[in-house]
């Protein structure tokens, strides 16, 4: 294929570096410096998509982020598939593979298009709601069909081979956009010594200065751009970010910049380079110099390929050396539209006509066109376009002065390209992100940034200032203002001389009338990407949608990946006309981050795979791994779940581990329990206030179990606290509750009782804990210590500072299994040493490592609760049958006391924790099962409670369960039923939750 639309000279492309790319399976040539869109236009590719709803052929209409049609799928392999790439923003590289995302069997011959053509009125706004929502059960089927037919790209099915990155940045001045205003602001701020970041979404800085033929200081504008960029790059404190879209403007001048580092180089990033990087910037001041998007006009069949916005035509000619057609008709409401015709004529191709909707406009550009002898048709409009896959001609007719009616006769002109300009819409997206409401300007004919609480300045096109001289001046002013605000002296900058241009007033016109009423005229598209027409918006208004937000949702205007950058203002204008309101009365929708679609990879950065969430390991983790332990996540901790041996089922492992503890000795890694060191002369008083039980008399060397309740009286954590010294305690918490408990203690101390002298520090990671439990645990401990660990000297609920395996250790004689137990706490870096010594010495006792699952079974056999499993924020200590752990003698009204004495907490028939023994001892009731009194009773059955813990107990030879039953503590021996999903019913008897060793003799041996 030849590049038939490529000019032989001019543009910012490198003709000495030809590149090959693929579109829909065919190979084409382009040049370095091309975008995918410019290369496609150079090759005469007209149809790049089929439209969403009507499947109409669509071509490239714009040249930047606002492009609604040329949204392609990229990727040479399955793993490198990227959806939603705007061809206008993708730089061409050698070997680029692209494809259109919709159209079946292809965009050129599309089956769905037939439906669109046959049934122009078959798909009104709200079509999907009206047609496919019923029956609801079929929505999933409809949705997949619609999606397939519509086609909006697809995610890769394989893992992305590239890496993504993020970086935090700080600066004095963040400048968004590197056109004339942005560059002037950056130059000023940089010269003044500010720390500056300037970002632009394009591959090179310059913005509009690169798209035209304008001169600065009598030389091509690009030379001024080059000099400024050169100077900026010399400053150490200036960061230049091309190919970087400022995608979000968040609170307190926090901005997110999406930098595409290597997207322009290849399908996969070169070795050791990241594909994209997210900059997270905190800026003292922000200068928005985001420019403006040109609005196309809304006229009949304005979506036929060959219909473009006027500025884009100029850009393709001047920047890329591509003329996207042969015979041009321009339609414009303003002077800027003339530029496309001038550039087209300069490129040596035929300008058929300039159709100006204004009656008599005289500006420098209009005069230039007149002097060139171009055919100017004033007070008229292109009311309709002919053609399907490419424009073949236009119908031109006179307009009434207000632009609301066609007057006079229709003239048909032959043309293949229609360039329209309905004026410019300032790019106010970022300004909207922070909650600022845009303000309509009649003179600009567009929305301007509204009042803001951010430290934000604006300059240039975003203010509706489209003349280079003014944009430069505003950029300079913003730079100086930012310097002053950050406390720096004004900078000395001389702005370049510009060619002053006289500009005639634009006409406020958006929707070109047709001979027929809008509803009967050929389709006049407002939003190309979502196929919203002027008629559709009128219908929405007629059906009663008056708020612009509702019109938007009903018609889907602005819902595409382009967020309606091109069509929204036109849509509001059409709605305003239909509602007989002005545009400011109709209002505008606002924009949310992100400005353009962004890859998930760039959002997640390095925080994926193994780095997705931190994992916490105990000092003995490696040993567990070597022993083949399976792990359970508890918070961020990896805890051994059970230690299967070859050939064992999980239940067999649990049975073996449980019996080992009951018959000899087992070992558990309990390092993950939260540990909080508490010191100060009021530490004891403080404990009494946060625990439900008494702490005043706990002697040094003793441990005590405590329940922690909220102010509502409900249990939320529990654990053992040891008295290390008169003013020194160490509290243990549940593994998952540690952080919460710690903050709980701090908030009460800092905000309620600052007069108490007490200090907290988290020491969870400082200690490793090996729990040895079982009848032989004392013998095992004795092998590794010289200390006296006999029952006379080391009593139940004592703790001792002794040496174990040569290491100083705090040993707590407490028990969560009901067996004689010792929790051996050593400095974490000795943890593995002590563990291995215990394993070594324990061999002769058959010392068996066990995990959290066996721990759960052993404690459930004893009826010990697990906070968070047997509590759910709705049970107080009495509900748990743990009234023994509540002291009402304490003088201070501890946290939870008032709460658990509320009338609802003291009423009859509360759900209470009981044991449940199944009639069939082999049956294990699934956790969560609901209890009823009569499974055959009238439905709905009244739920009496639920199962919170349930296991097979190998020790006892039957299943055990703990659960809640209304008034359960008074219903011992009664029968309840648990209906299962499969229709069967499990029968169980209410009993004490202490199934094993009810007198607690085993822990006292």
């Amino acid at each position: 294929m030849t590049q038939q639309n490529r000019l032989t000279s001019g543009g910012r492309i490198d003709r000495s570096t030809p590149l090959t790319f693929t579109y829909n399976g065919k190979q084409y040539k382009g040049f370095k410096g091309d975008t995918l869109a410019s290369a496609m236009l150079a090759n005469g590719i007209d149809v790049v998509a089929r439209s969403f709803k009507y499947s109409r052929p669509r071509g490239i209409v714009a040249c930047g982020a606002e492009e609604p049609n040329a949204v392609l799928q990229l990727g040479a392999t399955e793993a490198t598939q990227v959806p939603n790439v705007r061809a206008t923003q993708q730089e061409l590289f050698n070997g680029l593979v692209s494809a259109s995302t919709n159209g079946w069997p292809s965009v050129d011959t599309d089956v769905m298009g037939m439906i669109g053509k046959v049934g122009g009125n078959m798909m009104p706004p709200g079509f999907y709601y009206k047609t496919f929502m019923f029956p609801e059960s079929l929505w999933d089927t409809y949705e997949s069909m619609i999606r397939k037919a519509a086609g909006i790209g697809r995610a890769p099915r394989e893992r992305d081979p590239d890496t993504y990155d993020s970086i935090n940045q700080h600066c004095d001045v963040m400048i968004v956009g590197a056109g004339p205003a942005g560059l002037a602001a950056a130059l000023t701020a940089a010269r003044g010594g500010a720390r500056v970041i300037i970002a632009d979404e394009q591959n090179e800085f310059g913005g509009s200065l690169l798209n035209g033929t304008e001169k600065l200081d009598g030389k091509p504008a690009s030379e001024w751009v080059r000099a400024v960029v050169e100077e900026l790059s010399r400053y150490d404190d200036v960061l230049l970010l091309p190919r970087s879209t400022v995608n979000g403007y968040h609170d307190h001048n926090f901005l997110t910049i999406h930098e595409r580092c290597t997207d322009h180089l290849a399908d996969i990033a070169p070795v050791n380079q990241v594909r994209q990087r997210m900059h997270r910037v905190r800026a003292k001041w922000v200068v928005l110099a985001t420019g403006a998007h040109e609005r196309p006009l809304v006229y009949a069949n304005n979506d036929v390929p060959g219909c473009m916005v006027a500025g884009a035509v100029s850009t393709y000619i001047n920047r890329y050396g591509v003329v996207p057609g042969n015979e041009l008709v321009v339609m414009t409401t303003n002077d800027y539209g003339y530029q496309a015709a001038l550039d087209w004529a300069d490129a040596g191709r035929k300008v058929v006509a300039i159709v100006d909707t204004r009656e008599a406009a005289v500006g420098d550009r209009t005069e230039a066109a007149r002097q060139r002898g171009l055919n100017i048709i004033s007070g008229s409009a292109v009311i309709e376009v002919q053609g399907t896959k490419r424009v073949t001609g236009v119908s031109v007719a006179g307009l009434s002065a207000s632009g609301t009616k066609v007057i006079g006769s229709v003239t048909k002109l032959k043309a293949d390209t229609v360039a329209t300009s309905g004026g410019w819409s300032p790019v106010i997206h970022l300004s909207c992100h922070t909650g600022s409401r845009p303000v309509w300007s009649d003179s600009v004919v567009g929305f301007l940034p509204g009042a803001t609480v951010q430290k934000q300045l604006t300059a240039g096109g975003i203010n509706g200032q489209y003349e280079t001289a003014i944009a430069l001046q505003e950029g300079f002013d913003a730079g100086q203002k930012a310097l002053a605000e950050v406390g720096l002296a004004a900078a000395n900058v001389v702005l370049p001389e510009t060619e002053a241009m006289k500009v005639a007033a634009p006409m406020s016109l958006f929707h070109i009338p047709h001979l027929k009423p809008t509803s009967q005229a050929p389709k006049q598209f407002v939003d190309y990407q979502t196929d919203v027409t002027a008629a559709g918006i009128e219908i929405a208004c007629r059906e009663g949608f008056e708020a612009i937000e509702h019109v938007k949702r009903y018609t889907a205007m602005g819902f595409g990946t382009d967020q309606g950058k091109l069509g929204n203002i036109n849509g509001m204008a059409v709605a305003a006309k239909a509602l007989n309101k002005s545009i400011p009365e109709t209002g505008t929708t606002v924009f949310r981050p992100n400005y353009t679609p962004i890859a998930f990879g760039a959002i997640i950065g390095r925080n994926c795979g193994a780095l997705f969430e931190p994992e916490r390991y105990t000092a003995m983790h490696k040993w567990h791994v070597q022993q083949g332990a399976l792990f359970e996540d508890v918070g961020q901790w990896k805890r051994p779940w059970y230690f299967p041996q070859a050939g064992e089922t999980m239940q067999q492992t649990l049975n073996r581990e449980c019996l080992a503890v009951r018959n000899s000795v087992g070992i558990l890694d309990a390092s993950t329990l939260g540990k909080i060191d508490i010191q100060g002369k009021d530490a004891r008083e403080f404990l009494g206030r946060v625990y439900s039980n008494a702490w005043a008399k706990l002697a040094v060397g003793k441990c005590r179990y405590g329940l922690m309740c909220g102010e509502d009286g409900m249990v939320f954590d529990d654990g053992v606290t040891a008295c290390l010294g008169e003013n020194h305690f160490v509290m243990t918490t549940t593994t998952g509750g540690a952080a919460h408990v710690y903050e709980w203690l701090e908030i009460y101390h800092q905000t309620e009782w600052p007069e108490l002298e007490v200090y907290f520090n988290t020491v969870t990671d400082h200690w490793s804990t090996a729990t040895i439990t079982g009848p032989n645990s004392r013998k095992l401990l004795a092998e590794l210590t010289d200390a006296d660990v006999t029952n006379d000297d080391f009593r139940y609920m004592d703790w001792k500072q002794i040496t174990v395996a040569g290491v100083p250790a705090r040993v707590f004689r407490i028990s969560f299994t009901g067996e004689l137990s010792f929790e051996i706490n050593v400095q974490a870096n000795y943890g593995m040493h002590v563990w291995e010594k215990l394993i070594e010495a324990g061999a002769k006792y058959g010392l068996t490592p066990y995990g959290t699952e066996t721990m759960h079974i052993l404690r459930a056999e004893k009826g010990f609760i697990i906070a968070g499993q047997d509590t759910d924020g709705s049970v107080h200590p009495y509900d748990l049958g743990m009234g023994w752990c509540v002291s009402n003698q304490k003088p201070f009204s501890y946290i939870g006391k008032r709460g658990m004495n509320r009338s609802d907490c003291t009423r009859e028939n509360r759900k209470q924790l009981v044991g449940l023994k199944t009639k069939d001892p082999k049956q294990v009731i699934p956790e969560g099962s609901a209890a009823v009194l009569d499974p055959k009773g009238p439905k709905p059955l009244e739920i009496q409670g639920h199962i919170s813990s349930s296991y097979w107990s190998e020790t006892l030879g039957h299943s055990i369960a703990m659960g809640f039953i209304k008034g359960g503590l008074d219903k011992m021996g009664e029968t309840v039923y648990y209906p299962m999903a499969d229709g069967t019913v499990i029968e169980a008897e209410i009993c004490s939750p202490i199934f094993f060793d009810p007198k607690g003799e085993r822990q006292n041996v």
Partner: protein, 94 residues
């Protein structure tokens, strides 16, 4: 993402380091036993949800671990002031 001045550290830090702990100036009744169920319920559960100025309790969780108060505009997200526990706000809603 908010940019928060910690009055204890005396510097601006990112919101990542902080944790909001709800409405500020909720004092625990000095004599809870003297509260009716209704009064206790008020203390426990009822919180303001204003559009505009709001006084909040924050903690510099990944920093100095100290609590402090913040007066924040819930609409614009402007932080009007931060002040230590025990102090009263100087910026209040009209």
């Amino acid at each position: 993402m908010l940019h928060i001045y910690c009055p204890h550290c005396a510097e601006y830090r990112e919101e990542d380091e902080f944790h909001c702990a709800g409405q500020a100036h909720i004092s625990r009744p000095l004599d809870p036993e003297a509260c009716s169920d209704e009064e206790w319920g008020e203390y426990l559960f009822f919180r303001k949800n204003p559009r505009g100025l709001h006084h909040e309790l924050w903690v510099h969780a990944a920093g100095c671990r100290k609590f402090f108060n913040m007066t924040r505009d819930t609409q614009s997200y402007e932080i009007k002031e931060v002040y230590k526990i025990g102090e009263q706000p100087s910026v209040v809603a009209e």
